[in-house]
Subunit: 562 residues, 2 copies
C-alpha cells in the first residue's frame, strides 16, 4: 500500500538538488522512505517526484490510535490552538504517528542478525564510503556504513532512526518484553529488594527523585584513531573515553557503544527511556567530518547516560567506562548479556520509601506525562523544522544575496572609477569597502548556523530522540494500569485473590514512583539543557549582529561627511 | 513579432502571486509589456506564463545597434568580466536595448493628443483608482490615472517609463528634432551669442563647467490639497512649491509639472538630459500613500532641476516657481510655448570661453561619456535588481521565518509551562521573552527596507531615469561628429566652403564643451548623491543590526546563569 504523508511546513526546493517544493497541508505519496540523511522521496498530487525533509512531513496522517489518546489529543489541540489557528497543522501534528520518528527497530535483539539489511542502501550521488566493519568477536553480523550525500550537509542535521520504518511497535516487540512480554509477571509478585541492585526513590524538593551520587559521573569522548584488523582488510575507528572518576581512558569502537545501548535497553527501557545512539548513517563527504560529527554525538549520548543516576551506576555502564583489560571486558560482557533482571523485572529493584499511591493517582500522572512528552515532541519538531529552514536560508539565498549586494556596490565603484572625474577617489574607495563588507557579511551569515544553530539543532535532535522513547516506556505503565483496573473483575472471577489485587496496586504504585522519579530527572535535565542552550544561542546571535554592525560602521567611516 | 527578453537575474516566484520563476540566461517571450508597476507578463520555453520584474530582464537581447557601439560594448565587456565571468549576463547587459527602459515617447509633443492612450489599461485586481483630470484650459487631452496592483507595493519600487515601449527613438522622433531635425542647421551657422540667453562654459577645477549661481536654488514640494472643478465632477491634487529664493509658495498640479517637463525637453534635451517625471502610474492602494509617494518623487525631480544651473536659471523654470498670479502664469506659458530657441538651436547660446577642440578630441570625449553612462546604467540596474530581491526577501520569507522562530520558542515555553515541575518559571519566562524578541525582529526585518533600502532604490531609480536620457542627448553629438567627418568630402563636392567646414568644427567644439560641462555637472551631483545615499544607508543598517543585538541581549539577560 502506498504510504501517504501530510506536509507540516512549507518547503521550497533548492534548484538542482532534486528537491520537491511542498506546501503545508499538502498530501504526498512516499516513493522512497530510505533515502537517508533525513530526507524522503515523495510524489505530489501533480505527479512530481522529489526529495522532502522528513521533519517537514507527517506520515500516515489519516490513521489514528483509538483509545485513551483522544483525551490527550484534545488537550494538545486546545494547547496548540494558539499558534495553529490559521493553519492546517494542528490535526497532523497531533496524530500519534508523530511519535514514531524514532523507533526501537534497529535495536530489537531479534533483528540483530539483519542489522546490515536495515541500513539504507543505494544512497545518492556523491557518497562518502567509509568502511567500518564489525569485529568477528561479535555475532552482530556485518554493518557497512553507507553515508548519505551532501544534501543536508549544510544543515548539520541528522535523523536518528530516520531511515527506519515508522511503524509503531506493539508491546511484545518491545526489547524487554521479548523476554517478559507482560507487566503482569511483575505486578503479581511480592518483592522485597534490599540488595546492591536496589534503586531507591526519595522525596526531593520537586517530588519523587532517584538517588543522585555525590559526584556526578562524566566522561570525555576524544581522540578517534583508525585501527585495522585482518591484515588491514577491515578498518575501524576507536574512540578514547575518559571518565572523570578514574581519569583513565578506555577505548571503544562504535559497535561497543551499540552493544552498551542494547544492554541498557534490555535492562532499563521499561522504566527509563534510553535514547538511541547517533545513526550509523551520517552526512558528510569527508572522513574527518564524519568522525568529528559522530564523536560529538557519542559525547552527547555518553554525557546524558553519565548524568543518569540509575544508568551511570549500573554494572554494565561501569564496565564500559572502567574495564582494565580485554579479559575483564570480555568477562563483563558475558555477565551483562546473561543479566536476568531485564524488561519489567527492573521494577522489582525499585524501592520507593514513600506512601503507596492509589491507581487513580497513578493514571492521572500517566496522562500528564504522556501529554507533556507528546506536546514537547511536537514543539521540538517545530523548532527543528524552522531551524532547518533558517539554516538553509542562511547558507543559501541569504549568502547569495549579500554577495550580490557586495558585488553590486563594487561594480558601481569600478564604473565610477572610470569617470576620469578628478574627485572620484574617496567615494570609489568607500564604495569598494562597502561592497567588500557585504561580501564579508555574506560569509558571516552563511557561517553563523554552524556557530549557533548547530548546537540548537543538535540539542533538539537529542531531545527528539529522547522524547521518542517515552511513549514505549509510558506504554508499559499504561498496560499495568489496565491490568490493575481488571483486578476487581479478576477477584470476582476468582482468578486472583484480594491479596493479589493489593500487591498489584502496591507494585503499580512502585512503577509510578519510578516514572515520577524519571520524569523529574528529565525535567531537571531539560531545564538545565535548554537554559544553557538558549543562553549560548543568544550570546552567539548577539555577537553575530554586533559583528555585522561593527563592520558596517567601519565601512561607513570611509565616507566623507559633507 | 513576439518580443523576446533574456533573464538577467534569477527570480523565484512568490506562490499565489501569478509570478513566474525564471533563471539567469533564460529567454522569455513577452506576452504583455504593459502590466505596470515594474512587471511584465512573459512565457518561458515550457509554455508557463507569469509575471516577472522588468528589472530582471533585458528586452530583445538578440538585436544590436551596429556602428561605433561595438567599441563601447567591448569596453563594457572587459569591465564586466570581473563579475560576469561565470554568468551569461555580460552579453545581455551590454546590448544597446539596456538604454531604452526610459524613453521619451510619452513626452513627444506629436503624441500628446494620444496621451491617455499611452497609459496602460486594464491593470490587475485590486486597483486603486484615483481621479486626476486634466484642466480644460489645457489641450493636453485627458489622462486618467490607472495605478497598478499591490504586487510590488512592498518593494516600493516604481518603473519610470516602464509601461512604455522600449523602442529606440530615431533622431527625427526626438522632441527637439521635430522642429529642428538635423544638427546641420546649427553646425553651419556662425553664432555670436551675447544676450541674456548666453550660457557660458568656464574652466573649473574639474574641467569645463557651467556657470553656477552664488546661491543654489532649491524648493520644497509639500502640502498636497485635493481640489475640484466643474461642480466637483473633476477632482485633482494641487501641490505647494516653495522656492528658497522668494519663500513664496506657488501651487501646481501634476499636469503643470508635465507641461514644464515638456518645455524643458523641447528647449534643452539636445544638450542636457532631462529626467522623466515620476510616472503617472503609481503603486499604492490608498490615496494618501499614492499622493505621498508622488510628492516625494516630484520633490526629487524638482530638487534635481533646481540644482542644474542652466535649467534653474531658464525663464520657463523661473516662471513655474515664481509666477505671482494666474495672469502672469498664463502669459508666461504662452510665451514659453512659442520659444524659438529649442532643439539643437540651444547650442547657439552656449559660449565656451575656451580653446577650440579638434573633432578627434570631441569624438574621444563622446566615446568616454557614452561608455561611462552605459556602464553606470548597467550597474544601477544591477543594484536595483538585487535591492528588489532583498526587499522581497526581507518583507516575505525572512519576516515569516523570524516569526516562525519566535512562535517555536514561545510554543516550547507554553509546553514547558504545563510540566507541573516546580522549577520551571525562570526558563519559561525567558523562553517566552526570547520568542517575543524574535517576533519583534521579524517586524524590524520587514520594516527595515522602508527605512533604508527605500532611499537607495529611489535614488537609483532616479539615476536610472537620468542615465536613460543620455543616449539620446549623446546621439545628437554623434550625429554632429558624423556631419563634421563628412565635411572634407562636402568641400570637395563644392557643397560647402572651407570656411563652412571651419565653422562646423568650431560649433562641434562648442557642443562638446556643453557636453563636458554637463558631464561634470552630472559627476559632481553623482558623487554628492551617492556619498549621501551610502552614508544614510549604512547608518540605518548599523542601527538595524545594533537594535537587534540590543533586543537579543535583553532577552539573554532573562536566563539564569548556572
Amino acid at each position: 500500500m502506498a504510504v501517504k504523508a501530510q506536509v507540516l511546513y512549507d518547503f521550497t526546493a533548492e534548484p538542482g538538488n532534486n528537491e520537491l517544493t511542498v506546501q503545508e497541508g499538502e498530501i504526498l505519496t512516499l516513493t522512497k522512505q530510505n533515502v537517508g540523511s533525513g530526507w524522503v522521496e515523495a510524489r505530489n498530487s501533480r505527479g512530481n517526484v522529489g526529495l522532502v525533509p522528513e521533519d517537514y512531513i507527517e506520515i500516515n496522517p489519516g490513521s489514528t490510535q483509538a483509545s485513551s489518546d483522544t483525551q490527550a489529543t484534545q488537550y494538545i489541540d486546545a494547547h496548540n490552538q494558539g499558534y495553529n489557528s490559521s493553519s492546517a497543522n494542528s490535526q497532523a501534528i497531533n496524530e500519534n504517528e508523530a511519535w514514531t520518528a524514532t523507533t526501537w527497530s534497529n535495536n530489537n535483539p531479534a533483528n540483530n542478525l539483519n542489522h546490515a539489511e536495515q541500513e539504507p542502501a543505494g544512497n545518492n550521488g556523491s557518497v562518502y564510503s567509509f568502511d567500518e566493519e564489525w569485529d568477528d568477536d561479535s555475532d552482530d553480523g556485518k554493518s557497512t556504513g553507507g553515508y548519505g550525500g551532501s544534501q543536508v550537509e549544510e544543515s548539520g542535521t541528522m535523523q536518528r532512526g530516520g531511515a527506519h520504518s515508522t511503524m509503531k511497535l506493539s508491546l511484545n516487540k518491545f526489547p524487554g518484553f521479548s523476554k517478559t512480554p507482560n507487566p503482569e509477571v511483575y505486578l503479581l509478585t511480592k518483592h522485597i529488594s534490599k540488595g546492591d541492585d536496589r534503586l531507591p526513590v526519595y522525596t526531593g524538593e520537586v517530588g519523587p527523585v532517584w538517588l543522585y551520587p555525590q559526584i556526578q559521573l562524566d566522561c570525555v569522548v576524544a581522540d578517534p584513531k583508525k585501527g585495522s584488523k585482518m591484515y588491514g582488510l577491515k578498518s575501524y575507528i576507536e574512540y578514547q573515553i575518559t571518565p572523570n572518576t578514574t581519569n583513565r581512558p578506555v577505548n571503544h569502537r562504535y559497535k561497543h557503544f551499540d552493544w552498551l545501548y542494547e544492554r541498557l535497553v534490555e535492562k532499563f527501557a521499561c522504566a527509563l527511556p534510553i535514547p538511541c545512539l547517533p545513526d550509523k548513517q551520517v552526512t558528510g563527504r569527508f572522513e574527518e567530518e564524519f568522525i568529528k560529527m559522530r564523536m560529538e554525538r557519542l559525547q552527547g549520548w555518553m554525557s546524558r547516560m553519565c548524568r543518569h543516576p540509575v544508568i551511570s551506576n549500573s554494572d554494565v555502564f561501569q564496565l564500559f567506562l572502567n574495564y582494565r583489560d580485554e579479559k575483564e571486558w570480555k568477562l563483563g560482557k558475558r555477565k551483562a548479556e546473561k543479566d536476568e533482571i531485564v524488561g519489567v523485572k527492573i521494577f522489582s529493584n525499585i524501592d520507593p520509601e514513600l506512601p503507596e499511591l492509589d491507581p487513580a493517582q497513578v493514571e492521572q500522572k500517566y496522562e500528564m506525562y504522556s501529554q507533556f512528552t507528546r506536546s514537547m515532541d511536537n514543539s521540538v519538531k517545530e523548532l527543528l523544522a524552522v531551524g532547518h529552514l533558517h539554516w538553509k536560508r542562511c547558507t543559501g539565498p541569504l549568502q547569495k544575496e549579500y554577495r550580490q549586494i557586495g558585488k553590486a556596490f563594487q561594480n558601481l565603484s569600478s564604473v565610477f572609477n572610470t569617470s576620469a572625474y578628478p574627485r572620484e577617489y574617496t567615494l570609489t574607495e568607500a564604495l569598494t569597502a562597502t561592497g567588500k563588507t557585504y561580501e564579508e557579511i555574506a560569509e558571516i551569515v552563511a557561517g553563523q548556523p554552524k556557530k549557533d544553530l548547530h548546537f540548537l539543532m543538535e540539542t533538539n535532535h537529542e531531545y527528539k530522540g529522547l522524547l521518542g522513547c517515552f511513549p514505549d516506556t509510558i506504554a508499559v505503565h499504561k498496560a499495568a494500569i489496565d491490568k490493575v483496573k481488571e483486578a476487581d473483575h479478576l477477584v470476582v472471577m476468582n482468578k486472583i485473590s484480594q491479596q493479589d489485587k493489593l500487591i498489584m496496586e502496591k507494585n503499580l504504585s512502585t512503577m509510578s514512583y519510578a516514572l515520577q522519579a524519571e520524569m523529574n530527572h528529565f525535567h531537571s535535565n531539560r531545564i538545565y539543557d535548554y537554559n544553557r542552550l538558549l543562553q549560548f544561542y543568544l550570546e552567539e546571535q548577539v555577537k553575530f549582529y554586533e559583528t555585522i554592525a561593527e563592520k558596517l560602521k567601519k565601512a561607513l567611516g570611509q565616507y566623507t561627511t559633507m
